[in-house]
């Protein structure tokens, strides 16, 4: 095959894939085993800066760090870049706050079977957001490349499509077999938010159910803020080390937020609040009503628990627990 005909995507690469830069960063990063507990407000103030590139763990409406995403909106963070790696309700919240100006898009503006977010579409159709196209697999592997300390990984996806054309990938030939491959640049986010089932005060985390890409996102990101359903003792972590998905050195901040994935699903704990998610989608159709809805639920609430209380509180959580356990 002729290397002169190899194509490359025209999409912008928003974060440097240079693995030497990241080695230097991680060399200097403090690895002390210390108490990292803080508050949502302080963590977002300290670790999220305007212009940062943000990755959000979970799966859009499953195991999402809702409190942190709300706080980004509440603190009016601007010009963020973010990875739309099945970004459903999280994309909807960030769009409501007009918090970003660039996006690596694999899955955005939709809420899967529930429908499309009118407001997120408005934001992405405005012409004000730079979008580079990818696929779910490509973004997963970009995080994986970063987690491996590599500048790229080869893959066999996106070839021949407009998704490739508007991506930041390049075609390359395998030096061993001559096969044409899509080379995916490593993605090293500035900051990541991840919600987990259990963590100790040092940031060692356990996750139940699917990981999505969170093990790799944690290793790939310069700073990681973890919210957890529950803080457990270090002794408990050490009793079952095979359960540790994210080790302490990845993590900068730990905040205990029971029910913190609400209105998303938390595997084994509570199901998603479909009524409330439908209310989001419905209210977005009328910009005035939606503004009032966001004021009420985010800007005028001081914390995640005020928001949860507004939408049914513990009574709602108990119902969602029952749905999760198929009662």
């Amino acid at each position: 095959m002729d290397t002169a005909n190899l194509k490359q995507g025209i999409g912008e690469i928003f974060a440097s894939p240079n693995s030497d830069e990241m080695r230097d960063f991680f060399r200097k990063k403090k690895k002390l085993i210390e108490d990292k507990r803080t508050t949502v407000k302080d963590a977002v103030q300290k670790y999220v800066h305007n212009g940062d590139y943000l990755a959000i763990g979970g799966f859009g409406g499953v195991r999402i760090p809702t409190a942190l995403v709300h706080e980004v909106v509440r603190q009016k963070k601007k010009d963020l870049g973010f990875s739309g790696h099945v970004s459903t309700h999280d994309c909807q919240i960030l769009s409501a706050g007009n918090c970003f100006n660039r996006c690596d898009a694999a899955y955005i503006v939709g809420l899967e079977a529930r429908g499309l977010s009118k407001n997120a579409r408005r934001v992405f159709e405005s012409g004000n957001i730079k979008v580079t196209e990818w696929t779910n697999g490509a973004l997963s592997w970009r995080f994986k490349a970063a987690a491996m300390g590599l500048p790229y990984l080869p893959s066999r996806v996106m070839l021949g499509t407009d998704t490739f054309k508007y991506s930041g990938a390049k075609e390359g030939l395998c030096p061993f077999t001559g096969q044409k491959l899509a080379l995916l640049p490593a993605l090293y986010p500035d900051v990541a938010f991840i919600h987990v089932h259990r963590a100790d005060i040092y940031g060692n985390c356990q996750i139940e159910g699917i990981l999505v890409a969170d093990d790799d996102i944690a290793k790939a990101s310069k700073r990681v803020i973890v919210t957890t359903e529950k803080i457990i003792s270090n002794e408990e972590i050490r009793r079952e080390p095979h359960k540790t998905v994210i080790p302490y050195w990845c993590v900068d901040a730990v905040i205990e937020i029971p029910y913190g994935s609400y209105p998303g699903n938390m595997p084994g704990e509570y199901y998603s609040d479909e009524e409330h998610l439908m209310e989001w989608l419905k209210t977005e159709k009328d910009p005035e009503a939606f503004k009032a809805f966001i004021d009420k639920n985010i800007y005028n609430t001081k914390s995640f628990y005020e928001y949860l209380e507004l939408n049914g509180g513990m009574k709602k959580i108990l119902k969602l627990k029952q749905i999760e356990h198929l009662f």
Binding site: G58, F59, G60, G61, V62, G84, V86, T88, A105, A106, Y107, I108, V109, G110, E112, A113, R114, L116, R121, F124, E125, S126, G127, K130, V131, E133, W134, T135, N136, G137, A138, S140, W141, K144, R156, V157, M158, L159, G160, T161, D162, T163, Y166, E171, Q179, K180, G209, I210, L211, V212, A213, D216, N265, P267, G268, Y271, S272, E274, E324, L326
Partner: protein
């Protein structure tokens, strides 16, 4: 809708491995497991492997997708299984489709920076249709959806037909297999890779096929008439797969 789900279910043979999305594809996989394919292995792109689905998931990552499953893993691992050649089928939902089976779920309009309409994008569709052996698509059929040229090739079919898919570097012997609509079931011509009719649903006509596609669909002489859903299929579908009529109620 019941007919579409039943046909889709019949195309998943026992012992096969399939990655499905939510909605019709998931309903079809559940129905297949309850009828002819009890040993169908269902995967979800977010990381769920072989669940015994108790109810229809709303998200391809929600906890239903690992209920009594064999493994809960990462999205990368699911895509790696596909890339390694383990997965027989992927089953994708509705989108704009052209005669070579290329799919658009990204934008309507010709300006990527400022699209007329923004859709979610590839999600896992491009990965799955690039890597799984056979791609199945279920979609309602009309002129807007069956377009001569899709506004954006999100997900590869046979690209420009002939050998262009393999020449682009996509894995050999993969590609679109069936398109199931409310009018008929379609496959692809052996060499040109253009869409062709395999079977026409009862009560539908060749004129319906033509009137509801912007491009010309090959009509061979030996097309069949689709077999109606059996009472066994309908009972399983209405009572077990989708008792609250979330999918079958869509008409």
């Amino acid at each position: 809708m019941e007919l579409m789900i039943s046909i889709a279910a019949r195309s998943l043979e026992d012992g096969a491995v399939v990655v499905v999305g939510t909605g019709v594809p998931c309903a079809a996989a559940m129905l297949a497991q309850m009828t002819q394919s009890p040993n169908l292995t269902v995967l979800f792109e977010a990381g769920g492997i072989a669940p015994l689905l108790p109810a229809m998931p709303i998200s391809v990552g929600d906890s239903r997708t690992t209920y009594k499953g064999l493994k809960a893993t990462s999205m990368a691992e699911i895509m790696e299984l596909c890339q390694a050649g383990i997965v027989d089928y992927c089953f994708l939902g509705g989108a704009q489709i052209d005669k070579y089976g290329n799919l658009n779920s990204t934008i309507i309009g010709d300006n990527h920076n400022k699209p007329k309409t923004r859709f979610p994008g590839s999600g896992g569709a491009n990965d799955l249709a690039s890597l799984c052996w056979k791609t199945l698509v279920v979609t309602p059929q009309n002129k807007q959806r069956f377009a001569t040229k899709v506004d954006f090739i999100t997900t590869p079919g046979y690209l420009e037909g002939g050998n262009s898919r393999t020449e682009a570097g996509l894995p050999k012997n993969t590609g679109p297999h069936r398109v199931i609509t409310d009018i008929g079931v379609y496959g692809y011509h052996e060499y040109s890779k253009e869409m062709q009719l395999i079977s026409l649903h009862p009560g539908k006509t060749i004129q319906d096929v033509k009137d509801n596609a912007e491009f010309e669909i090959i009509i061979p002489d030996n097309y069949e008439i689709t077999k109606e859903p059996t009472s066994e299929e309908l009972t399983a579908l209405r009572e077990k797969v989708d008792p609250s009529k979330v999918i079958i109620g869509r008409g």
